[in-house]
């Protein structure tokens, strides 16, 4: 019996290993391309009529010559540094604004019973149902054409911040609800103002939840492609996603720069994601049941 179980596991391991290799192949491929020092989409120049082994060599995710040229040149030769900077600034500003707006609103929804409270919370929930494309065209006309905020940080930041608010508000409200009201009551009796309580008591207590919402806002802005590509028309104002597309979209095919840039852009989010995935999953599925 025990013998059979181990044998089963060997087959399972074989299956799992081959599937996992297949699953992470694209990742290895990008890594290989980024260290290959060349721009073509093929890792190896194949001869005219390649043999089986030569083709096998071509698909192995190992560069022909190891080089960090793509990583250095993407900073020096290309505007990638600038795009990355744009993305960093926009994402940080989005996070600040989004978290500030979400914290205050969530606090009010959690702590006060006031006329219009339910309507307000419902509004946040309903807004989640509006599809992106339906918002895209009016936002483009209003922000870019009417307010002329195209090609500016501000235009993208206010849109990103407001789109991330509803999720953040619901998430933070849930957390604030778990903080006992007694603490605030005694502070009120001691003569603390509402603002002091919010700043000195609630926010420090809610640090973990605020950190999650901040990271969520940050990642929303960091990974967003469509709005950025519509809002940012001039090359100098691209965000990293739009810039990466620029490397390989249309007529240019600088796959090496793309690969190096992708690795740089992905590393922080992948690391964050692996850390935070359990919160995200519980948040997502909880939201959909409500």
């Amino acid at each position: 019996m025990a013998n059979m179980k181990t044998r089963n596991h060997i087959w399972l391991h074989l299956g799992l290993i081959s599937f996992t290799l297949l699953a992470i192949y694209p990742v290895l491929w990008v890594l290989a391309l980024s260290f290959s020092g060349q721009q073509s989409v093929g890792l190896i120049d194949l001869p005219q009529d390649p043999s089986f082994l030569e083709r096998l060599r071509a698909i192995l995710p190992v560069p022909e010559h190891w080089s960090v040229k793509n990583y250095t040149e993407v900073w020096t030769e290309q505007q990638f540094g600038r795009w990355l900077w744009n993305s960093v600034v926009i994402s940080l500003m989005t996070t600040l604004l989004g978290v500030f707006l979400a914290c205050t609103a969530a606090y009010a929804f959690s702590r006060f019973r006031f006329p219009g409270r339910n309507t307000g919370m419902l509004m946040f929930l309903v807004s989640q149902m509006f599809p992106g494309t339906l918002m895209l065209i009016p936002l483009f006309i209003i922000i870019v054409k009417q307010l002329e905020l195209g090609n500016t940080y501000l235009g993208l930041v206010i849109v990103y911040a407001t789109t991330s608010i509803p999720f953040c508000v619901w998430m933070l409200k849930g957390y604030f609800d778990t903080i006992p009201y007694d603490i605030e009551e005694s502070a009120l009796i001691d003569g603390a103002s509402r603002l002091t309580i919010f700043w000195r008591i609630i926010l420090p207590l809610a640090k973990p939840a605020i950190a999650i919402t901040a990271l969520f806002s940050f990642m929303t802005a960091w990974n967003e492609f469509i709005l950025a590509s519509v809002f940012m028309e001039s090359e100098a104002n691209y965000t990293a996603p739009v810039g990466l597309r620029f490397f390989v979209g249309g007529f240019s095919s600088q796959w090496g720069y793309f690969a190096a840039g992708s690795v740089i852009v992905s590393l922080p989010v992948v690391a964050l994601f692996l850390q935070l995935q359990k919160y995200l999953i519980s948040g997502l599925t909880a939201g959909s049941v409500k």
Binding site: L12, T20, A23, I59, A105, F112, T285
Partner: protein, 640 residues
């Protein structure tokens, strides 16, 4: 007396606020209408001249056309330049140094495109025998310049386009608003309000009634007076255009280019709308057709009246709100909860301005025919009602049955809808199956290295999906892509992935499958781990087979987790813009577009903003229906 008491007793605050509402909204509306009229006046004058140009050169040869255009431009100093484009050729131009006739230059390709656009618009209108697409295009430039483009006809047939640049800056605005007038009305209302004291106890209170009647009288008087002013301006404009028409027509008559029709019943082809239809307000001899003008006025009033009624209704509601003491109570409540409102306000204002306003803007846009080229037109001229929705949903031209077999119409909405549905179902099925199998495998008891597998298998989900999409696009590269190398390795022919409908669809499915199975895997794994082991043990003791355990324990217990996850992933896949847009781009020729990418392309590659807004509204409706069923399904599973 506190403010809240005051609000309950005196009619003054109610009168003031309601009157301010009515007057501010009213003057905003009338101001917008005035601006609209002003815009229309300038555009009509420009179109008048452009039509004259087209009519004057319709029956002459190329050389004659150049001569006439040149002379006419000198006659009217406000015509800054005229060019005529016929096919790939610049037939005539009054711009110095243009050297017509010559071929169009590369940077002048937009003119060629515009010519084709107007030609198709004309053909559509003819073919459908309804006037749907505008054939005269007006662009407002900075500093009051107008660029009018319209079909250039030769021998009654479409031969190209004529583009005229017109200086429309010289017209003074219509006489300024009589500013003190609304203020006088406001003061009258305030006096009436101050004179009235209400008795809070009584239900039927004469003071309230008097306040209401006085309010309505003042508001209606104001609005009637403003409508009168509008009509005045419309009439003035018609006469000014008629004068201009007569002056220009007489000059052309003298030159012998275009005989002035002296028949009062004759149709004036100079003063047309954007579909080249004569407006009929000005007759061929320059006289005003009273009947048509009355209709014109009625149309404008018909647009403005319902809005005025809405404003009146709103203002009366505000007044009653104050008169019956609700304002006082609301104020008291506001004072009591002031902290809450201050905390909520920033987020709420942001949502209203950047989510709810754009949303309603988008819906409104869907009922117009706005494109990049006619944004500057008056709103009323762009309003077309349900036209876009009829064009999207009423177009059943899905395929053509020809001798070579069936040819699908990839641009049709229902084709795209079908692709989207197939796309969604395929992807969700793939995601759930792979996720389920992997979760079952990883849940095996005593399996070593679970954590490592889990982290590696989650990677595809962690990487930003636009990067994933671009990477897969590279791997599907027809010449150097890895996937074709593998095929060739086993002696198969390489596939031109993005050239075939099915193969192109598969590229999207492969990419999306790759990035979507980890989510399902993680969700299912979590649910599996929460199933108590005792249940399986008990079943095993009872002699249940593997299949029976799966069927009667695992699946029912997975359901509450699985269904919300599927519901969520259906919406995600349905809206998966990045994968389609970045991997295949909907190739070949838009066959693999899903609804959201199609809407994007209509908006930002064809610049049909309104049509795209209508398209998005339809998508929203589909999601709404889905959401409705989703909540029912989720509720049904919760009761299990």
């Amino acid at each position: 007396m506190t403010i809240s008491e005051h609000l309950k007793r005196s009619a003054l605050p109610g009168m003031a606020v309601a009157m301010l509402f009515a007057l501010v909204l009213g003057s905003w509306l009338f101001g917008a209408e005035m601006a609209d009229l002003h815009l229309q006046h300038r555009q009509r004058l420009a179109v008048l001249q452009a039509n004259a140009l087209v009519l004057a050169v319709a029956d002459t040869d190329a050389a004659g056309t150049r001569k006439r255009v040149g002379e006419m431009q000198k006659l009217e100093p406000r015509i800054e330049s005229v060019i005529i484009v016929a096919g790939p050729q610049l037939l005539a131009s009054t711009r110095p140094g243009d050297g017509a006739p010559r071929q169009l230059k590369r940077e002048e390709k937009p003119l060629y495109d515009l010519s084709n656009l107007i030609r198709t618009a004309r053909e559509t209108n003819r073919g459908e025998e309804v006037v749907r697409k505008k054939t005269i295009q007006i662009d407002e430039m900075p500093s009051g310049r107008l660029v009018v483009t319209l079909p250039y006809l030769s021998g009654g047939e479409f031969a190209g386009i004529l583009q005229m640049q017109f200086d429309g800056s010289g017209y003074p605005r219509a006489a300024g608003d009589t500013f003190p007038f609304p203020i006088l009305l406001l003061i009258a209302a305030l006096l009436a309000g101050a004179a009235l004291r209400m008795q809070t106890q009584k239900k039927v209170d004469p003071a309230k009634l008097i306040a209401l009647v006085a309010f309505l009288l003042i508001v209606l008087f104001y609005q009637q007076q403003q409508i009168g002013r509008l009509e005045q301006v419309v009439k003035q404009d018609n006469r000014a255009i008629a004068t201009q028409y007569l002056a220009s027509a007489e000059q052309l008559d003298r030159l012998g280019y275009l005989p002035l029709l002296r028949d009062p019943a004759g149709v004036n082809h100079w003063d047309t709308d954007d579909y080249e239809r004569p407006r009929g307000v000005i007759a061929a001899d320059g006289s005003i057709a009273e009947e048509a003008e009355t209709k014109q006025l009625a149309r404008r009033a018909g647009f403005i009246r319902p809005i005025l009624w809405a404003i009146d209704l709103f203002a009366v509601a505000v007044l009653l709100f104050f008169l019956y003491g609700y304002a006082g109570r609301a104020y008291a409540a506001f004072r009591e909860h002031i902290y809450a409102y201050i905390y909520v306000a920033p987020a709420m204002i942001g949502m209203l301005v950047l989510v709810f306003f754009p949303f309603s803007y988008g819906i409104t846009l869907a009922f117009t025919d706005t494109t990049l080229f006619n944004e500057s037109l008056p709103f009323l001229d762009r309003l077309i009602g349900w036209g876009n929705f009829k064009a999207i949903l009423g177009d059943f031209n899905i395929y053509q049955d020809t001798a070579e077999g069936i040819i699908w119409n990839y641009q049709n909405f229902y084709w795209t809808l079908m692709v989207t549905v197939v796309w969604t179902i395929t992807n969700v099925v793939i995601g759930v199956s792979f996720g389920f199998i992997l979760a079952m495998v990883l849940n095996t008891e005593g399996l070593r290295g679970k954590a490592i597998y889990r982290v590696l298998l989650i990677l595809p989900w962690a990487i930003p999906n636009y990067i994933t999409a671009l990477v897969w696009r590279g791997m599907f590269h027809p010449q150097f892509g890895v996937i074709n190398q593998v095929l060739q390795m086993f002696g198969l022919e390489p596939v031109a992935w993005f050239d075939g409908v099915i193969s192109s669809f598969l590229t999207g499915v492969a990419t999306n499958g790759w990035l979507s199975f980890p989510f399902m895997m993680v969700v299912i794994l979590g649910a599996l781990q929460s199933i108590p082991k005792e249940m399986y043990e008990a079943a095993e003791v009872e002699g249940a087979s593997r299949w029976q355990r799966l069927r009667h324990i695992t699946l029912p217990l997975l359901k509450p987790t699985l269904i919300p996850a599927i519901v969520l992933s259906v919406v995600w896949t349905f809206n998966m813009f990045n994968i389609i847009f970045l991997v295949s781009g909907g190739e070949p020729s838009g066959a693999n577009e899903i609804l959201v990418t199609k809407a994007y392309k209509i908006a930002f590659e064809q610049y049909q903003y309104a049509y795209a807004a209508a398209y998005s509204t339809v998508i929203f409706m589909i999601l709404l229906v889905y959401g409705f069923f989703q909540t029912r399904i989720t509720k049904a599973t919760e009761s299990f």
